[in-house]
Symmetry: C2
Subunit: 389 residues, 2 copies
C-alpha cells in the first residue's frame, strides 16, 4: 500500500500555523515536503513553547515528517538552490504578507512563466486581491471580523474567541483542498495554477448557515452558549454529579429514551414535557428536573449508560480525557515520534483514513533547522526528480 | 477557463451538514453532484428554518448547484437506477450511521468489487472502525468529547460550544481533502478507495497544539477566553467607545506602534510597560490604561486608524457587519442565486480561489426534491458518461 500523495514534491515557505497545518496534512499522506527556512532562525514557531526537551512542541506537532533546508532568498547562491528545487516541485506554498513574493522576484506571473506546471498556494489574512489585502491579521483578528466570535460565548455576555486557532486551521484546510483541486486540474490542463486563500474568507465560509439565516430573515444572532435555540430541549449541557453532561435528545423519540434511561418514565406523562413545544415552553423546569435526576451519578456513568441506550450524550472532556478515550487509539489517532534530537513523544494522527493507503503509527520527527541541506544538494546535483519517491 | 473539478460525477447520499458541506465545495468547483434523497421527505435539512419563502435557508445554503433525484433504496426499481448512477460515478458519499450501507447491500466490499474505480466517502460520528463506531453523535457531542469546548469560554467559567457547528464542518473539510487525495491516487492506482472520516477524530486534529502541549508538559488548559496567555499583552479584546476592539500587539515593535497611534507615546517610557515581561506583570493596569484611551472613539474609527498604522486590530463583527466589509464583495465571497422556486437570494461563496478557474458570482439554486429525475433517467438511458460534462 502506498500513501495517497506519494511522488508529490512540496516546496514549503510557510511558517507558524495555517500553512504548516496544510503541508502537515500533505506530508502525513505521503507528499515530500521540503521546508525552506530563514537561516539562523527558521520558522518562528521553533521558538514557541511548551517544549519537548529543547524542541518546541508547537513546532514539532505541525512539522513532523518534513525536511528542512535553510536558504536566504536574498542571496544569489541560495536563490539558485531554491530555483533548482522549484524545477522539480509540484507545489510551492507560502503564508507571507501579500506582495512579499513579488519583492523577492517570485511573484505568481514570474513563477508561472518559468515553471508552468508549478502550483502555487498562498495563505494570508485577507487574500492577494481586494482593498484590504495589505492589512495584517492574526487568528483572533479574523475570528472577530468574520463573525464566529459573535456567536460564541454565553448568551447575554461578551463574545469569546474559539479556544483553538480556527482562523488559521480552517485556512490551512481550505488551502489543502485548493491545492488538491489544482493538482487534479493539472492532470487535464497540463499547467499549474495559483490558489489564493484568505483567512477572512474562510471565516465567512464557516459561518455559512448563520449568514444564510441573516439573509433570509435579517436576524442577527449573539453568543449562543451551549444550547441550540432552534432545537427542542433537552439539547445542551446538563449537570451530573461531577460536572457538565451534554445530552442531545431533541425529538420525542429520544426524549422517551432519556426518560427511561434515568428511570423517570413519569416525565413522559407530564403535560409540561409531553411535546417538543411543551418542553420548549418549560425549558427551565425541564433542566431543573433533569439535573435533579442526573445528580445521582457521575458524568462517566451516565455517558456509558446513555450510549448503551442509543441516546446521543457525552462529557465535556479536557484534553487529557479526550485522548484517553479508547476510540482514539483504536482509530490510530495518536502517533509516536522518535526524535533524534529529543527522544520519543506523542502527537495527534491524521483524521483522513483511506482504505488503500497506510496510516502509520510511527512518524518521522519535525526536522532540525537545515538538517537536510546536504542530502538535498546532493540530490539536486543528480536531479531530484529521480529520487523524490 | 474551466472549473477545477469539471467532469467529476458525485453520487451523494449525505444529509444535513457534514456531508453536504463537502459536496457543496465539490459542486462549487465544478463537480456534478447528484443528491439521492429519500422519496417524499428528502434531506432532513429541507425542513429546517429559517426560510427563503417556502424554502429552507439552511438547506439552500448547503446544496446550491446540486441536482436531486428521489430514490427508495429498498425498492428494486430504484436500486437499479442507483446502481446505474454508480456505474458512472467517480465518488459516492454518505453520512449514515456505520453499518447502514451494509444493510442496504452497498457496503464497501460489495461496492469495490462491483465498481472498482468508485471512491467511497463516509462521514460519521466515530468512524467505521473501533468499539465506539455505533455510538450516535451530534456536533455538540463531539465538540464536548474532543476537547474544543473545554478550551472555549471565559476563564473560570463553564466551557461553551463553538457557536458554529465546527464538529460537522471540520468533518466535511477533512472528507473533502480525503476524497481529493483518493482521486489523485486513483490516477496512478487505477482503482477507488474508501475514505472514512469520524467527526471525533477531526476534533482531535483541530486540537493538535493543545494536545502537543499536554503530551509535552502534562498541562491541561481550561477556557482561554479571548486572550492568548502565551503572548505578551496587549493581545486580546479591549474596550472602545461602543464595544469590544481586538488588538494584537504582542511584541515591542507593535506596542510602540499602538502607543503612537493612540497618542500616548508616554506609555513607552513607563517602566511598567517598557518590556513584554513588564506588560505581562502589569496586564490589568495596561488594559485599564488602554481602555481609557480607547474610550475616545468608536471601534470603526480605531480599526481604520490602526489599519493605516499597520497595527493588527479589528472589531468583533456580528454577521451583518461581517458581510458588509468591502473586502467580502471584492473577494467575491457573496454569491447570488436565482431560485425558480422562491426568487433571488444571497449566500456565501467559496473561499478557494484558483487562478485558472472561474469563480462565478451567480450559482444555481439548491434543487427541489426529485427535480432532476426525468433528465437523469433520460441521460442514463443513453449513458450518463457522455453528457456529464
Amino acid at each position: 500500500m502506498k500513501p495517497a500523495l506519494e511522488g508529490l514534491l512540496i516546496v514549503d515557505l510557510t511558517r507558524v500555523l495555517a500553512g504548516p497545518f496544510c503541508t502537515m496534512l500533505l506530508a502525513d499522506h505521503g507528499a515530500r515536503v521540503i521546508k525552506v527556512e530563514q537561516p539562523g532562525k527558521g520558522d518562528d514557531a521553533r521558538a514557541y513553547g511548551p517544549w519537548f526537551g529543547s524542541k518546541s512542541a508547537y513546532f514539532s506537532s505541525l512539522n513532523r515528517g518534513k525536511q528542512s533546508i535553510a536558504l536566504d532568498l536574498k542571496k544569489a547562491e541560495d536563490r539558485q538552490i531554491f530555483e533548482d528545487l522549484l524545477e522539480h516541485a509540484d507545489v510551492l506554498t507560502e503564508n507571507f504578507r501579500p506582495g512579499t513574493m513579488e519583492k523577492l522576484g517570485y511573484g505568481w506571473d514570474t513563477l508561472h512563466a518559468r515553471y508552468p506546471r508549478l502550483i502555487y498556494g498562498a495563505a494570508s489574512g485577507f487574500g492577494h486581491t481586494g482593498s484590504s489585502s495589505q492589512r495584517r491579521a492574526y487568528d483572533m483578528i479574523v475570528q472577530g471580523m468574520g463573525g464566529i466570535m459573535s456567536v460564541t460565548g454565553e448568551p447575554g455576555r461578551t463574545p469569546v474567541r474559539v479556544g483553538v486557532s480556527i482562523g488559521d486551521i480552517s485556512a490551512g484546510l481550505f488551502l489543502t483542498c485548493g491545492l488538491l483541486m489544482a493538482l487534479l486540474k493539472r492532470q487535464h490542463s497540463g499547467h499549474g495554477a495559483k490558489v489564493d486563500i484568505a483567512m477572512f474568507d474562510c471565516q465567512l465560509a464557516l459561518m455559512e448557515y448563520f449568514i444564510g439565516r441573516y439573509f433570509a430573515t435579517g436576524e442577527v444572532t449573539g453568543p449562543v452558549g451551549s444550547y441550540r435555540p432552534a432545537i427542542a430541549p433537552p439539547f445542551g449541557v446538563y449537570q451530573a454529579l461531577d460536572g457538565g453532561l451534554i445530552i442531545a435528545a431533541g425529538n420525542d423519540k429520544l426524549f422517551a429514551v432519556l426518560c427511561e434511561a434515568i428511570e423517570r418514565p413519569d416525565m413522559l406523562l407530564d403535560p409540561r414535557f409531553a411535546s417538543a413545544e411543551a418542553r420548549k415552553d418549560n425549558e427551565a423546569l425541564l433542566a431543573q428536573t433533569l439535573n435533579a435526576a442526573l445528580a445521582a451519578k457521575p458524568v462517566s456513568a451516565w455517558t456509558e449508560h446513555f450510549a448503551a441506550a442509543g441516546l446521543p450524550a457525552g462529557p465535556i472532556n479536557r484534553v487529557d480525557q479526550a485522548v484517553a478515550h479508547p476510540q482514539v487509539a483504536e482509530r490510530n489517532m495518536l502517533i509516536d515520534v522518535d526524535d533524534p534530537q529529543v527522544g520519543r513523544y506523542r502527537l495527534v494522527g491524521s483524521p483522513i483514513k483511506i482504505s488503500d493507503a497506510p496510516d502509520p503509527r510511527q512518524r518521522r520527527a519535525a526536522p532540525a533547522l537545515d538538517q537536510d541541506r546536504e542530502a538535498i544538494l546532493k540530490e539536486l546535483s543528480r536531479s531530484i526528480r529521480e529520487v523524490k519517491a
